[in-house]
């Protein structure tokens, strides 16, 4: 019997402190609640087992927040619950996010022993001044160390996140961060342009916001990342992601190609059975056992088609014309012909055989393209 593929995301909302730019669902200074939280998570996992009895779990991703703030015992409890209640595939790919300031050699070794095969470090920059400015608790040295220790502990699938277009950042400065990153034993890198989100301390700090490089410099940095990473053998596979061949993040790919996923934990989102769903984002609620989905949104066929396009186009290989037809029974040009032709004429999209993908210019203006698919 073939089982349906499912990815599982587990949210760990705790952080030591909140970074100036962050608008994720994170809680600083709530370390005292982690035990209760893990208990609730175990319940959440248990309560989901029946619905997914016929699914096979292809990937598990612990994200945050800072999952590496959890103790090894707490992580073991979570993994145990997963293994006892879900059908984990033989080669189920397990990822964890970590902050460089939270990990020791022993901790990393234990993660490996428990079955984590991919680790992703939130490094953001290798410039100590910028790290401090953004409220990060580690310095460049610590970040390099963490990556080397993870490698030593057995991880050969290591990713790190960099943010560019930080306040006061120059092209040279970003170049140095890329250089440092490429000297580390990594296989995957995410480069995000800083975005100023409403309600964050960064947004409220006008002096900092004013010091953010303008769009021209921002794109120069993005282009630099593309160039340097390509030279180092990394393939640009998604708007903000590069990987050595075979090291693309399987879990995140499942989002972009429209596969089903289950999100467990505080505020986690899911997509299965034609609906997007979301857990409560109130910690007290969640811990007290309010584990049902707090929001549900029906994704009808036209929305599915739109999402197929605007998520699929995030991938540099683009979307498959046949893939669209097989999935929806319609020719993509019958549905989106006007937009596709317009953006191909403008040089934002290009067709190559069965695939339509964003061009280099299209990557910079992807939202302009995506709007027309909604």
């Amino acid at each position: 019997m073939s089982r349906k593929a499912l990815s599982i995301y587990i949210h760990v909302p705790f952080c030591r402190s909140r970074c100036g730019y962050c608008d994720f669902l994170t809680l600083a200074g709530a370390d005292g609640r982690t035990d209760d939280y893990v208990t609730a998570l175990q319940k959440d996992i248990f309560q989901s087992r029946d619905e997914f009895a016929d699914h096979q779990i292809e990937t598990v991703f612990l994200g945050g927040g800072t999952p590496s703030l959890l103790s090894l015992l707490q992580l073991a409890d979570i993994l145990c619950a997963l293994r006892n209640n879900f059908n984990l595939a033989q080669n189920c790919h397990m990822s964890i996010e970590a902050n460089p300031d939270t990990v020791s050699e022993e901790y990393l070794q234990s993660l490996w022993m428990m079955g984590f095969r991919r680790i992703s470090f939130g490094v953001q920059s290798f410039d100590d001044g910028l790290l401090e400015l953004m409220g990060r608790l580690h310095d460049a040295e610590k970040a390099c160390n963490a990556v080397r220790l993870a490698h030593k502990a057995g991880f050969d699938d290591i990713s790190l996140d960099l943010i560019f277009a930080l306040p006061h950042q120059t092209l040279e400065n970003f170049d140095k961060s890329l250089e440092t990153a490429l000297n580390l034993p990594i296989t995957h890198i995410s480069c995000y342009a800083l975005s100023v989100e409403d309600g964050t301390p960064l947004a409220a700090n006008k002096a900092l916001v004013d010091a953010i490089p303008d769009d021209m410099q921002d794109r120069d940095m993005y282009a630099l990342a593309g160039k340097k990473l390509a030279q180092a053998g990394f393939k640009h596979y998604e708007i903000s992601n590069w990987a050595k061949v075979g090291f693309e993040c399987r879990h995140n790919l499942s989002y972009w190609i429209g596969q089903e996923y289950l999100g467990l934990g505080l505020g986690a989102s899911s997509y299965f059975g034609g609906k997007r769903r979301k857990k409560t984002d109130c910690l007290d609620d969640y811990i007290s056992g309010n584990l049902a989905f707090a929001h549900e949104e029906e994704i009808d066929k036209s929305t599915q088609m739109a999402e197929f396009a605007l998520l699929g186009l995030r991938l540099t290989e683009g979307i498959s014309l046949n893939g669209f037809k097989n999935r929806f029974g319609q020719d993509i040009f019958d549905v989106y012909g006007e937009a596709l032709n317009k953006f191909m004429a403008q040089g934002l999209l290009a067709q190559k055989g069965d695939k339509i993908a964003l061009t280099t210019k299209g990557l910079d203006l992807s939202n302009t393209v995506f709007c027309d698919f909604l």
């Binding site: 505020g267 989102s269 997007r276 979301k278």
Partner: protein
Amino acid sequence: MQNIRNFSIIAHIDHGKSTLADRLIQTSGLLTEREMQAQVLDNMDLERERGITIKAQAVRLIHKAADGQEYVLNLIDTPGHVDFNYEVSRSLAACEGAILVVDAAQGVEAQTLANVYLAIDQGLEVVPVLNKVDLPAADPPRVIKQIEDIIGIVAEDAPLISAKTGLNIEGVFEKIISDVPAPKGDPKAPLRALIFDSLFDQYKGVIVFIRVGDGTLKKGDTIRFIGTEKDYDVVEVGFLSPGSFVPTNQLSAGEVGYFTAHIKNVRDTLPGDTVTHAANPTSNPFAGYKKVTPMVYSSLFPADRTNYQDLRDALDKLVLNDASLYFEPTTSIALGFGFNCGFLGLLHLEIIQERLEREYGLDLVCTAPSVIYKIYTTDGMMKEISNPADFPDPSKIDHMEEPIVKAEIILPGEYIGQIMEICQNRRGVYISMEYIEADRARIVYEMPLNEIIYDFFDALKSRSRGYASFDYELIGYRTSDLVKLDTYINKEIVDALSFIVHRDSAQERGRKIVEKLHKEIPRHQFEIPIQAGIGSKFVARETVRALRKDVTAKCYGGDISRKKKLLEKQKEGKKRMRQVGNVELPQSAFMSVLKLDED
């Protein structure tokens, strides 16, 4: 007739006219507290919010005076703003007296003066009243002296009141009865009644408010409007009790009331016109009837093109009650189908825009206000234009004329320098300046109307921190060197962004316009030059850089719904854009050029 008093209240905005009207109505005992809606006379929400009264109405009060007799007091409400000067003068013509309400702290303002002079011109007895005497800043002796010095009427025995608290309202009644003359007129003479307002009611048709000068009007009479030459059979006559129409048998000389006659169109019942009997017309109609002509023009377009019919319906409804509003269909390459509208003045324009948006839920794009220019062509013809699109080929123009107003500004002395600078910059010609008291001056300029309709009022308010008050009246046309200033976006003229301006102001105006547009036009995939030009000569330029980045860096499982919403918002914004050539212009771009003085 001896016991009738017909009067108006005149005041500067905010000096308490409506509050006093409320008090008079309340004190006269015809309304209970519960029935007293705050500010009874101002019917429209908008009026209440802006603190001004747009449509005149009349209220009949019964007051038992100290002499033991009962008096009928007809309070005729008047608009307080210069735009409605003509309506004010018609309302005043229906009265024998006017209460002049002056804020005991603020003193006399420019609009007060304008309306007082109107009242004095009409031969009305002006009864000054000092309001807000309960405020700490009130200084009655100073304001009394001011009234006597500036206006030249006796004010030493003016009642000191607080309309808000009800203090000394009785004093106002006694003053009206003692000072305002009883009406004169002959009930037996041929009917001669003045229309001072009209109102469309969907059940009764037009309700015509009149002051009967001579004769008697009864139900069933066949009447004639002398100005519009229309005859009707009267269906109902009556007077206005606060908040209700009270039918009665007749209205005769000296009385104020209303009648209905199945009249479909307020344009047949213009304020200032005389009502008489068709069979026995008066030979002595009221003087001064004139058709009001719009002074300010602006084209209104629905923000969403599909709302054109809704805009038309809304304008059709508004003109039912506002004969001074004029509109005709127009088209713009940039903005599509809309209406070219004529208004009495800037405030009138703003009120209509706001009513369309608020009461009819329409989202509008308006072009810059314009005035009527007289263009004399080389073939000896004269053409009146208000729309820049109608500006003729300059080589065919012999000369041009533009409307000039006399602008009167009252302001604290410390702002004189700055305000004079504004006036000079707007081609004002200095006429006079006088100190009306130690620290308040009145300055008079003659200025082109097209400099005032722009954003003069905003500039005045901001440079005087709100302390300057301002009034204007049209004094005539003068020869002027005007040019058509065009705006080019990505090398194409945008018709809705053309202006008629004086040659000397053109460059400065052009510079400001392109600066504003530069801030409003979103970046496109290509560079967009924004230029202002006269004929083939460019006078200003800005460039909107090409869009380099429009990307969401992160989009993972939990973000998808949220990011999609952001994209939907972005798409919604785009849908509302106006396509000009291959440039998409937001509505705000068209609006931004209406206020150039902000920075």
